[in-house]
Amino acid sequence: MTRMQTQSQSQSQAPLPAQDGHVTADGRQIGGVMMEMKNITLRFGGVVAIKDISFDIRQGEIRAIIGPNGAGKSSMLNVISGFYHPQEGEVWFKGYRRGPMKPYEVARLGIARTFQNIALFDGMSVLDNIMTGRLNRMKSGFLAQALWWGPAEREENLNREAVEKIIDFLEIQNIRKTPVGRLPYGLKKRVELARALAAEPQLLLLDEPMAGMNVEEKEDMSRFILDVNDEFGTTIALIEHDMGVVMDLSDRVVVMDYGRKIGDGTPDEVRSNQDVIDAYLGVAHD
């Protein structure tokens, strides 16, 4: 928790410089632009879910997207991960413009995510769920798998080792073999994070990772998110309702309302922005 405080203090003293690459007060490396959304517009029939929004995500940062319910936050993550295809605008990733991609192709670029409503594989154990996160890294051929030949077994064990590290990291050793369907809500969220981490993503998208959690669970989850960012250098974009959490966690915040972007900056800049106060902070939220 102390780190979270120093972090938010540091941000009030030193807003992000415009040029590429800098080091935060707590020693993390923030690099150049990793992902850039340019003038995205997404419509569902008559409903405009996202209206001409542009923002970027920098290498190594924690970027929050906030806004009232129905603002279009989840839709934005769905655009990034290839579930929705915007009618207008461009998506740039690591300096290249991305054409329309299927979700599994986006995953193979090194982008992993969790969902607002948990999307785990209920029929499989915790271990198997997390192992699925590594499917893209497992390359042994059909015949090797069918005969459980040397390479297939070696690959399985190597990936199992990597998964065990994540299990230790997220402190879920004791539920390894439990079917996911039997877990309580808070643990399911953690397993979903584990599955996303197993892919060793460059960009991790978290849709309300703390929704519906109690204070203790939220603190745990905040700690995990910070540690992931810190230890693995993973870039994170997260949607969150709890303003306190957002202020503590994030380097920069995008504020959305009714599909529009009404604010973008460090937590303190956003907090003092009059539009944001009117549209969001004034409105009751959970």
Binding site: S81, F83, K102, P103, Y104, A107, R108, A112, R113, F115, A119, L120, F121, D122, G123, M124, D128, M131, T132, G133, L135, N136, M138, S140, F142, Q145, A146, L147, W148, A152, E153, E155, E156, N157, R160, E161, E164, R195, A199
Partner: protein, 358 residues
């Protein structure tokens, strides 16, 4: 505490991932294998071969196939009978066209041809799910039966419209044709069932199996971890149909010897194999065997007990069989979708703790 895992520590991921992590299970498995390979072949006679063991093994292969598709990959199919027919007619055409080539190769090729046909009829699964997919596979069932009836080339223009398996030998023993001995029939089916079950286990424990289960449990989440639904579903159709095709080839060539497509591979077969995996357990290798054993043994048992011992009329026994199967299907669908395999696992869990309930 008869059945226990305490003191049976795993010191590597390899040990932890093995098929039978608990020592007692492993011994049970070896014991079954020893009896199946070392004892039964010497004792088996024509009655036991044709009433119990040969159909059990063949249907176990078919059930494994359907279980891969439905139990592991979550794609419903009512086309099993039709795919078995593809296996049967493929092996028939190959046997008669290339008599000098080994029957084992023909059976494997028949599986391969069925896999291709399965992929073709699996294409709709990319667009439709559940009930609609079931109807599409039902259409495949009727189409395939119609095709093998209508096109005389498939049955070599025989006057009866039937196909008859000529005699083929393996290692000097007849394995098809009227002269085949009971042990030969049993052993060829046993070897196929054993190897295919092992392959099914390997595939389902690894990368491909996890892709199938991911698609089954939640296709959106499967995509987000990088599973291409197209290859995942079609590979399930291919592997499943390969198994089912081999089962059809064995059923015709080794078990029946002669077949008429509508009778041997009609919609009833599709339902029979579906019932096997529902009763045995969806998504379980053991369950495929348990379900096949149950559906093969039940009529034999009822016939022996009700008709043989109590002297009831045969058709009454048949009605009772239908009622029992119907009731069990409803029971398993509602109460225990993982079937006998799950009940067995629960029993073991109880035994593991016995006599201390907690």
């Amino acid at each position: 505490m008869i059945y226990r895992e305490a003191g049976d520590f795993k010191t590597s991921y390899r040990d932890d991932g093995q098929t039978f992590p608990i020592r007692l299970d492993r011994w049970g498995y070896y014991a079954v294998l020893a009896v199946a390979f070392g004892i039964i072949p010497f004792l088996i006679n024509d009655y036991w071969a044709s009433a119990v063991f040969v159909p059990l093994l063949i249907y176990a292969i078919a059930a494994l196939g359907l279980n891969i598709l439905t139990g592991y990959a979550g794609q419903v199919s009512l086309g099993t009978g039709g795919f078995m027919a593809v296996g049967a007619y493929s092996v028939y055409k190959l046997m008669t066209a290339f008599p000098e080539i080994s029957i084992v190769i023909h059976i494997l090729l028949a599986g391969g041809i069925t896999a291709l046909v399965g992929v073709l009829f699996g294409l709709p699964s990319l667009r439709i799910k559940g009930f609609y997919l079931a109807v599409a596979t039902l259409a495949a069932q009727f189409f395939l039966v119609w095709l093998f009836n209508k096109v005389p080339w498939f049955y070599n223009y025989s006057a009866s419209g039937q196909i008859n398996a000529p005699e083929r030998t393996l290692l000097g023993h007849a394995v098809t044709g009227p002269a085949t001995s009971a042990p030969a029939k049993y052993l060829i089916c046993l070897v196929f069932a054993f190897v295919l079950a092992w392959v099914a286990r390997n595939l389902t424990r690894g990368t491909l199996g996890r892709k199938w289960m991911a698609i089954r449990d939640m296709d959106i989440a499967a995509e987000i971890i990088g599973v291409n639904p197209l290859t995942a579903k079609l590979s399930a159709f291919a592997v499943s149909s390969f198994f089912v095709g081999i089962a059809g080839a064995l059923l015709f060539a080794v078990y029946l010897g002669a077949a008429e497509v509508g009778e041997a591979f009609g919609i009833n077969k599709s339902f029979l194999v579906l019932f096997m995996i529902i009763i045995g357990g969806l998504g379980s290798i053991f369950g495929s065997f348990a379900g096949a054993a149950f559906m093969v043994l039940l009529p034999v048992l009822l016939k022996n007990v009700l008709v043989g011992s109590f002297g009831w009329p045969t058709n009454l026994a048949a009605h009772i069989e239908l009622m029992i199967v119907g009731a069990l299907i409803v029971f398993f669908l509602i109460v225990e979708p993982h079937g006998l395999a799950r009940l067995w696992a629960l029993t073991k869990e109880k035994l593991r703790l016995w006599p201390f309930p907690h």
